[in-house]
């Protein structure tokens, strides 16, 4: 099939890839050539081809994060040609295909760059700062006991939809990577507003936003200036509206919560 498509001509590419031995070492951009890349490969498959070449020639393969390769787990990252998850909107790197590039292209591949995301090796960064923000308040109280009936708690459809949209965040960190300020507010706002909109989230509502924002600041993420590059680069399309809601929730909670 590949052979019948005029666009499926194999490509030769030049890759500039960030190599860094460990979190302490200094890194550099190294140049590699890859040959006969099928346009139908995903970007990560192209990286696999490169790594096999490197292994054959006795070079340490490039470390990069990946897991499901279906665009749902949030594990893959990569800053490709100046964009988080590459040039295509609403796409994770594993769902980015080589047909978006042309034969002879030079592609620059860098890790997410942010102080709170220390580089572990090459293109892998430690994103556990986002886990700690989540742990600071991204949970709800649930009664133990009998299984509740389905739809026992009425939730208006538009609210359920909005909460679900916020819940689609896969915690990949592209928002932080794309943000000029290295802000994690799109991530935090998605988590806060998802729960603030639902009846189940009301018990911890005020404490949640206070604690999650405090943790976000403590991790050293920047402050949002409403540029919007986070939402533009988000692979699942988390809306900037969530940040307005986060601001609203935080200001409200600061002045009305029981936490002095």
């Amino acid at each position: 099939m590949a052979g019948n498509n005029p666009n499926s001509k194999p490509m030769n590419l030049t890759l500039r890839v960030w190599r860094q031995k460990n979190s302490q070492a200094a890194g550099t951009l190294e140049t590699y050539q890859v040959k006969d890349i099928s346009p139908e490969m995903s970007f990560l498959e192209m990286m696999d081809v490169l790594n096999e070449d490197l292994l054959r020639s006795g070079v340490d393969p490039i470390a990069f994060d990946h897991d499901c390769r279906e665009g749902i787990c949030g594990m893959c990252s990569l800053y490709i040609n100046g964009r988080a998850h590459g040039p295509e909107r609403g796409t994770t790197t594993c769902q980015l295909h080589m047909r978006k590039f042309s034969d002879g292209d030079t592609i620059t591949i860098e890790p997410w760059r942010a102080g709170p995301f220390p580089i572990l090796k090459d293109l892998c960064v430690d994103r556990s700062a986002l886990d700690r923000i989540q742990q600071a308040g991204g949970y709800i109280s649930v009664n133990t006991g009998g299984v509740p009936d389905a739809n026992e708690i009425p939730i208006p459809k538009p609210i359920a939809d909005k909460a679900f949209d916020a819940a689609t965040c896969i915690q990949c960190g592209a928002c932080v990577a794309a943000c000029k300020n290295g802000s994690a507010m799109l991530f935090t706002s998605a988590k806060v507003s998802q729960l603030a909109m639902l009846p189940q989230g009301q018990v911890e509502r005020k404490t949640r936003v206070e604690n999650m924002v405090a943790q976000m600041d403590k991790e050293g993420f920047g402050a949002c200036t409403n540029i919007g590059s986070c939402a533009a680069e988000c692979p699942v399309g988390i809306s900037l509206e969530n940040i307005a809601m986060l601001n609203r929730e935080y200001i409200g909670a600061s002045f009305t919560s029981e936490n002095v």
Binding site: R16, W18, L29, Y79, N81, G82, R83, P87, T108, E110, R113, A114, G115, P116, A178, K180, N181, G182, S183, M185, V213, A214, M216, D217, G220, F221, G222, A223, C224, T225, N226, I227, G228, S229, A232, E233, L240, E241, I243, A244, M245, L246, N247, R248, E249, Y250, I251, G252, S254, F255, N259, V260
Partner: protein, 230 residues
């Protein structure tokens, strides 16, 4: 730390202060623009001079002047604190970055635009405010009372091409600053809703064009009328 200082030293709290002071400064722009429109009256500056005398002596206006200075101070200080913090988040820059593909220029350059506006403001204050308050302009009699002839100071300044240029450039910077800042302030205040956010954004775009254009029209008017056409 008290809950109050904790709130206003947090990232969101500081953003909030920048937003609130920014909107306050927008209200000042409107008052300043409307008042200055009297330059166009064509009465030899009588109403403008009476107006500036009122602005310089009325106790309410003088009090608001202090609030205004505080507004500028907080707006600049909080923005500087946030900018320094934000810059430190990415110690290693991207070797290749294309932010132009995901955001607009003015939103990414609020600090630069603000600095241009500040430089303009210092020149502007030195030239008019300082002279009006502490200088000794010529006196001019209007309906039997002597007034400082600030009108002539303004008009003469606007006969210098480089001064007009500084003004126009300052207003362009203000326009871009407002284009992002106006609607962004509402977003920071948490005021976002499908019912009114589109209207805020449209009004913000309108505001960011009309207000700077209004200010820029004053030096351009006097320069074109008195220098170019005479």
């Amino acid at each position: 730390m008290s809950w109050f200082s904790k709130t206003f030293s947090s990232s969101i709290g500081r953003k909030l202060l920048v937003a609130v002071t920014g909107l306050f400064l927008c209200s000042f722009l409107v008052v300043h623009l409307v008042g200055n429109l009297q330059l166009f009256k064509g009465d030899g500056g009588a109403s403008f001079n009476i107006y500036s005398h009122f602005m310089a002596t009325n106790p309410l206006i003088r009090t608001m002047e202090i609030v205004l200075v505080l507004g500028f101070g907080f707006h600049i200080y909080e923005a500087l604190v946030l900018t320094r913090r934000n810059k430190s988040v990415r110690p290693v820059a991207y070797a290749y970055n294309r932010p132009q593909d995901n955001s607009n220029w003015s939103s990414r350059n609020m600090g630069l635009l603000g600095t241009v506006i500040l430089v303009f403001l210092i020149i502007h204050l030195y030239n008019f405010f300082w002279r009006a308050r502490f200088g000794e302009p010529n006196m001019i009699p209007i309906e039997g009372t002597d007034y400082d002839d600030l009108y002539s100071v303004v008009v003469q300044s606007f006969h210098l091409w480089w001064y007009v240029l500084i003004y126009v450039l300052g207003q362009i910077a203000l326009g871009y600053h407002l284009y992002h800042g106006f609607s962004s302030a509402f977003h920071t205040l948490g005021l976002n809703h499908k019912k009114y956010t589109p209207a805020i954004q449209k009004f913000g775009a309108f505001f960011s064009i009309v207000v700077p254009a209004g200010f820029a029209s004053m030096p351009l008017y006097f320069f074109i009328k008195d220098v170019v056409l005479s």
